[in-house]
């Protein structure tokens, strides 16, 4: 089973991620009803909406943390069933979490090295015997991890324990770790939460660099300015339903969106 090869984004008009009719119910609460979106390769796509609209639930559904009650999911035109998170990561969607979920007691470097797990293959034999292939893979993992740390801007913290990093650096570390899985789609859940304006600028710049590498980004964010300035297209959720979809300019003018945010319907 070839685990090394990462999936590569195509370029022929096929959406990178296509979701149609995603629904999820929790007991009495319909968290998502019929949510869909299409993300084209290379886009930075935004998912916004008031608190409790179902954005993180949507993330959890497409990444396999929750089983959807209904919905069709396609990655690069190929249908996939979001059943197990690790399979989703293998297929090419990597995510960060709203409440940072790093491996707190590992160093920054080790956190990112874990991200390489899905694209590497050495097991017990390699661990114990450290034959040439194993040593090479391990060196490659380490090198790539260091590279990613530098890429997100915390290369000098490679040996620092993750829980001792500053908040902003932890967020960047989480992104580096997700990037290590070589994803087609990078799904970021409120990456700018708790950041000051300087950090947000750096984040914006980082996201552009990630896109320049050929990756696609799906972003949940509350900072409207950041989203409007960054995203190519946006879907707006409210109460688990899509209420608007389009370019930032279109969405900003949409009456339903304004009502949702300003409270007319709440």
């Amino acid at each position: 089973m070839s685990q090394g090869a990462a999936p590569v984004a195509g370029n022929n008009g096929v959406p990178l991620l296509s979701v149609v009719g995603a629904s999820k119910r929790f007991g009495g609460l319909q968290a998502l009803s019929g949510v869909g979106l299409r993300i084209m390769p290379g886009q930075i796509y935004g998912l916004i909406g008031p608190n409790g609209a179902g954005k993180t639930t949507f993330f959890n559904v497409i990444t396999g943390l929750y089983r959807p009650d209904a919905g069709r999911f396609e990655l690069q035109g190929t249908p996939y069933t979001p059943s197990a998170p690790y399979l989703v990561a293998k297929a090419g969607i990597a995510r960060t979490f709203q409440n940072i979920r790093l491996f707190g007691d590992m160093t920054a470097l080790e956190n990112v090295m874990v991200g390489r797990h899905v694209r590497t293959s050495q097991g017990v034999f390699g661990a114990v015997f450290r034959h040439r292939a194993a040593r090479e893979e391990e060196a490659a993992i380490r090198a790539r991890a260091q590279e990613l740390l530098v890429f997100v801007g915390i290369g000098h913290y490679a040996g620092r324990t993750a829980r001792h990093l500053s908040y902003g650096d932890q967020r960047r570390l989480e992104i580096a770790r997700a990037l290590a899985t070589d994803p087609l789609l990078l799904a970021l859940d409120e990456p700018a939460a708790g950041m000051n304006p300087t950090e947000k600028l750096a984040l914006r710049e980082l996201l552009h660099r990630i896109r320049a590498e050929g990756r696609t980004i799906l972003l949940i964010e509350h900072d409207v300015k950041l989203v409007m300035g960054l995203c190519d297209r946006i879907t707006v959720l409210d109460y688990g339903k899509v209420i608007a979809e389009g370019t930032p300019a279109e969405v900003q003018r949409d009456a339903a969106v304004i009502a949702a945010y300003l409270g007319a319907s709440h």
Binding site: T63, L65, A84, P85, Y86, V88, A89, K90, A94, R95, F97, N99, I100, R101, L102, F103, G104, D105, M106, T107, E110, M113, V114, G115, R116, H117, V118, R119, T120, Q122, G123, V124, G126, A127, V128, R130, A134, E137, E138, I141, T161, A162, R163, H164, L165, S166, Y167, Q170, R171, R177, A178, A180, T181, G194
Partner: protein, 403 residues
């Protein structure tokens, strides 16, 4: 090497390691001057260290609290019991009288010698066989626990440990496989290149190599030392590898680990399997050493004893685990030699005998360590090797790392 913090002078580290190895190698010769019992204690301690290291993979690396670990020790021991003793002859005989059809097949398969004397495989086959069987059971017993969290996992594994023991205790009817509560005896001692480590009959348990004679317990000491060293080596290699990182990631945050592409199911099963193989090998050694196995050596108390060693020493930290094993395996015996006569002197009777002492130590160890020093007596100097036992999360301003 991740044993010692980088602040220490590597030359000092090497010097102390060298000294340690020297002491360990010379010990039996010195101790033999005072009789066999000290080396025998050391032999048992070495077996326990292997067990503790095996359990450390499951509990320390992967964070799965296995309370039924001793079952794998039992499986290894009974494998030796069945395949390196006259027992199999009794098994065949039992089948022949209760299920003659099966009995016939067995007789046909095994031939007259086995029917008479049982199966007597050599060490070189028994060890891998025990490892394999134990590993398989590790996967079987681990499989139902995959979705369970902490406490439940512990109780279920405890249940499995008990189930195995009960089966071992009762599989003497209707067909005799394990010989029930009486256990299996006359298990072959270890034979290396034709030399039996128990010494030949009439030699007074002395093993003669070339012209030299050493006591049997000493011979076993070195054998166990080799296996122990191997166990330590493999543990260290595992910890510092892709798999080791996956285990630690699993322990730290299972959800994040899965989201990063780790197949948590397989990784957990691998932890159970690896831990189990260590236990199985130790069990086979134990059976050969003692010459006899019975279900009462594999009770829940033993599982807990091994857990206590891991916890006392330093969960996840290999040198700590070794220390824990040495302390909890050897200390009670050592104390007994000292304390029992003392009590006899002072009180005229033995209030607290060895068994009680042992239990007291285990109980106190677990309670006191968890209350006072949860990371163990010798925790890893690097926090990333330590499970979060000593980092309570209350009130941390940086982002919530564990949901």
């Amino acid at each position: 090497m991740r044993f010692f913090s980088s602040a220490r002078d590597p030359r000092r580290v090497r010097a102390s390691l060298f000294a340690l190895v020297a002491v360990v190698l010379v010990f039996p010769f010195v101790a033999s001057q005072f009789g066999n019992s000290w080396v025998r204690i050391a032999d048992v301690a070495l077996l326990y260290i292997m067990l503790a290291l095996g359990l450390n993979i499951v509990v320390g690396f992967a964070g799965l609290l296995d309370l039924g670990y001793i079952a794998f020790y039992a499986i290894g021991a009974y494998t030796a019991g069945l395949f390196a003793s006259p027992q199999f002859a009794a098994v065949i005989e039992s089948f022949a009288s209760t299920y003659p059809a099966v009995g016939e097949i067995l007789v046909r398969l095994c031939g007259p010698r086995v029917v008479q004397e049982g199966i007597h495989l050599s060490l070189w086959i028994i060890v891998p066989l025990s490892a394999l069987l134990a590993g398989v059971f590790g996967v079987i017993l681990g499989a139902p626990t995959l979705k369970l969290r902490g406490d439940y996992l512990a109780i279920v594994t405890l249940g499995f440990g008990e189930i195995i023991r009960i089966f071992l205790n009762n599989l003497n009817g209707p067909v005799n496989i394990t010989n029930g509560p009486q256990g299996i005896n006359m298990i072959d001692p270890v034979r290396i290149f034709g030399i039996s480590l128990a010494g030949e009959a009439g030699s007074g348990s002395t093993v003669y190599i070339g012209g030299w004679g050493i006591p049997s317990v000493n011979a076993y000491y070195f054998l166990f030392l080799v296996f122990c060293a191997l166990t330590i080596f493999i543990s260290v290699r595992l910890q510092d590898s892709r798999l080791g990182r996956a285990w630690i990631a699993l322990r730290e945050d299972e959800v994040a680990a899965a989201a990063m592409g780790i197949n948590t199911r397989n990784v957990k099963l691998l932890a159970f399997a690896m831990g189990a193989t260590f236990g199985g090998v130790a069990g086979a050694m134990f059976a050969a050493f003692q010459g006899f196995v019975s279900p009462e050596s594999f009770s829940l108390t033993e599982s807990i004893a091994v857990l206590a060693m891991v916890v006392l020493g330093g969960i996840g930290h290999i040198p700590g685990v070794v220390l824990g094993g040495v302390l909890l395996a050897a200390l009670p015996e050592v104390l007994r030699h000292a304390v029992e006569p003392l009590q006899q002197e002072l009180f005229g009777r033995v209030w607290v005998d060895a068994e009680v002492m042992r239990q007291l130590l285990y109980g106190l160890a677990m309670v006191l360590i968890m209350l006072a020093r949860p990371a163990g007596l010798w925790p890893s100097p690097r926090p990333e090797d330590r499970p979060e036992a000593d980092h309570p999360h209350g009130g941390e301003p940086v982002g919530e790392v564990k949901a």
